[in-house]
């Protein structure tokens, strides 16, 4: 018995020694971090160097950390990226830091692909409220845990055909405009200009129930339980308003070409879509023979609430063996003012960092330009961005609801009953 105890101790000591030797060997090795990114060629915007932001961040990071090297694979496009990440996850070959798309975030959090960042955030004394717009960093929260940080945000604005409004002697709305203002303006702009009995000028295009619901603060999902929650007065009112706006067009099919032709007064547009129209950020493009401007979406009573903001997230792999360094790289990408400023010049989104957006050097230039994109509007919209809904299969649920709501809006007289039915349908759909 004593003999075997001694043996155990000896074996234990030898094992410890081996672990110590191997770990010291590995500690002396240069840490290699891998970065998982995709190039947003989504909008086909000409870009000299799509990797400029990442390259700058990596260069700055490697300067600060002598013993860390960062690698990334170039060339992944947005469409193939989730599959690429999923394959790496199954192979156990996850990049240490990687981009997370909004629709994949709940899945990644739930299956444990993303590392819990709460500890790193508090140990690095990062105050999320001070650093980021609330709507942006909250996009990286799942089950009350911060799994990802915002890298880039894309708010949705209302693009206004100012020429059209001026022609009709209407005042161009500011950020405090309400649903009523929007409806009244749209109504008075929806007319048959050439008298052929067909409406050929429209108030709005592409204003959907989602814009209405967000700006009304009608949650599609219960914030606490995450369950679908559309059987509410707020949601009903949102749908009713979206229906009212849609009904103005009297079933005439409006498309984006009508807006391009200057036949539509209002169109909700993502900042990134807007960038498609504007190869050079912040310089207003003159299109056709009309001028246009950008205002926030109309809120229910001018209270500037619930603006739509999409956010591209970045997280640390839960399986990363160098989480501390990986988190430092993550903060370099997301929380460094110098790097984040590059988003405005090299990417199609806006920076989720408050300090960066607030101190945009091009602010003045924009103000001088008559049709400029007011940076204050970006700041305003980002500050009042709605909470992002996060649930697994979010996109599927929304597109399912889209179809159903289209039918309800076009046929129903008993909307609240139909919404109750729809709620049940969606629950069944999720369960299935």
């Amino acid at each position: 018995m004593k003999m075997s105890k001694l043996k155990f101790i000896v074996i234990g000591l030898i094992t410890l020694l081996i672990i110590a030797v191997t770990s010291s060997y590995y500690l002396n090795e240069k840490v290699v971090l891998t970065l998982g990114i995709f190039v947003e060629s989504y909008w086909d915007v000409p870009n000299d160097n799509p990797y400029a932001v990442y390259d700058a961040a990596i260069e700055k990071f490697e300067e600060e950390y002598d013993d860390v090297r960062v690698e990334y694979y170039s060339g992944f496009q947005k469409d193939g990226y989730p599959e690429y990440i999923a394959e790496l996850a199954l192979e156990g070959n996850m990049p240490d830091v990687f981009m997370v798309m909004k629709e994949d975030f709940p899945t990644y959090s739930e299956i444990g692909l993303l590392a819990n960042l709460d500890y790193f955030i508090s140990s690095n004394h990062i105050d999320l409220d001070d650093s980021f717009y609330k709507t942006s960093y909250q996009a990286g929260i799942y089950d009350e845990i911060q799994y990802a940080l915002p890298f880039e945000s894309v708010p949705t604005f209302m693009v206004v055909n100012t020429t059209l409004l001026e022609q009709h002697g209407l005042e161009i709305p500011d950020e405090t405009w309400s649903w009523n203002d929007f409806y009244n303006l749209s109504e008075s702009l929806t007319i048959d200009t050439n008298g052929d009995g067909m409406i050929d000028q429209f108030g709005s295009y592409n204003y959907t129930w989602q814009e209405a619901a967000y700006t009304k603060g009608a949650s599609i999902f219960d914030e606490i339980t995450g369950e679908i929650n559309i059987d509410t007065i707020e949601f009903e009112e949102s749908i009713y308003f979206a229906k009212k706006i849609a009904d103005l067009n009297k079933k005439n099919a409006v498309d984006f070409l009508d807006f391009d032709k200057g036949k539509v007064a209002f169109q909700p547009m993502k900042y990134s879509d807007y960038s498609t129209y504007n190869p050079y950020p912040y310089s207003m493009k003159k299109y056709s023979d009309f001028e246009w401007n950008v205002v926030p979406l109309p809120s229910q009573n001018g209270s500037k609430e619930g603006y739509l903001v999409d956010t591209l997230l970045m997280g640390v792999s839960a399986e990363s063996s160098n989480k501390v360094e990986a988190f430092d790289l993550l903060t370099m990408l997301c929380n460094d003012d110098e790097i984040q400023t590059l988003i405005y010049t090299n990417s199609q989104g806006v920076s989720p960092k408050i300090s960066v957006t607030e101190s945009l050097p091009i602010k003045q230039d924009l103000k001088n330009n008559e049709a400029a994109f007011d940076v204050n509007i970006i700041h305003d919209v980002m500050l009042n961005g709605a909470n992002q809904y996060k649930t697994k299969n979010y996109e599927e649920i929304i597109s399912f609801m889209d179809t159903e709501l289209y039918r309800i809006m076009n046929s129903s007289d008993t909307m609240i009953l139909d919404l109750a039915l729809l709620q049940q349908k969606v629950v069944n759909y999720i369960d299935y």
């Binding site: 599959e83 999923a86 199954l90 156990g92 070959n93 899945t107 444990g112 697994k392």
Partner: protein
Amino acid sequence: MVENIPYKQRNGNLFLILGLLNAFIILFISGVIMLSLYQIINMKQAQEFLEIIQTLPFTPPYSILFYCITIMVVIFLIMKFRYESNLDESLQLLFFSLEVCLAILLMYILGFSTNAITLLLVADALNSFKEVKIRNRILALLVFLYLLSSPGFLHIFEKISFTTYMSVYNSNFQVVMHGINTALHTFNIILFIVYMISLIQVEVNEGRRVKQLNFRLNALNSKLKDFADISEKMGETRERNRLAREIHDTLGHTLTGLSVGIDAAIMINDVDQIATKKQLQVLSETARQGLTDVRRSVNKLRPDALENHNLKAALKKMIIDFELVSSASINFVFHLEDLKFSLEEEEVVYRVVQEGLTNAIRHGKAENIIISLTLDKENLIILIEDDGMGCSDIKDGFGLYHMRERIGKLNGTLRVYGHQGFVIIAEFKLRKDSQYD
């Protein structure tokens, strides 16, 4: 306690088959999982797969097969080691815990898509641990583990079921794979049940064997008792023979001499009175000699103890001897220090106590015996009381008969009661010359 029977005798073959089947199941599942993961990656279905799972599978895929085989081999080696070396219970428990931990690790690596191995552990535990308390605790723990690791039972362990992996294949292939998987698991359960039944059979057989052995032992015991009785009787017979011979040799001889001498004296009395007188003197001498011989013979019959000690010491010695050979505790009360008994009385007292003790221990199986000797006026009372089985229907056996006979010689009485334990009360009047000194 039945001795631990080596596993080879306890359905070793069945256990081996169960083990091999488990190894095969693990090999099958881990192989399928590994190939499925590569298939998912090749078919560009990784993103879809992530959507339907609750937790990530173990990575990288090839390591699943590698780790599973390694862990399985280690588990078997530990089992082999445990069965072949003679470890004490606590070390057995330690190694068994190691097995359980490895099995949990194995199930974890497989995403809890199979829990077949818990059944092997149950069989192993039943095979290894005999103590009911330990065994029950281990079984409860394993049943708990089995339930937790069952697909669809609670969400304590994050699981990826076999079905989930199958969902990436076309339905024909799914049917075949599900068939194999179900068949393997069903076969595992059947084999486990068969093993359990055979294990129970072994235990039942063991119990039966013990019963038989016990029965035979009892039979031998009673035979031995019969032999003891016979040899006791033979001893008595021998003693009687010796007595007869003694009487024949001494008393018979003397009496014969005396009767012949007396006949001669009668005949010569009328002729020669002087000669007669002489003859009678010789006869008297002979009779006295005969008496001496008889005394000597009787002395020979006295118990050794009485020969060398006084009554109290002899009784004490006897009681100690009885206590030594039985588990009974004997309480001896003797308040007659100053009393002097005749030899005959001493012997009667000694024999009565001896017979009483023998009865109490042999027939009554008594645990506590009280013996008291007291004097009531001129009567000596011997009380022998025990807490044994007693006897509701008392028939005088050899022992009681002898006691009665002995007490009777001293004009005493013997009473026995057998309702609660067994009580013997012997009473006789002491002779005058045996009164206080």
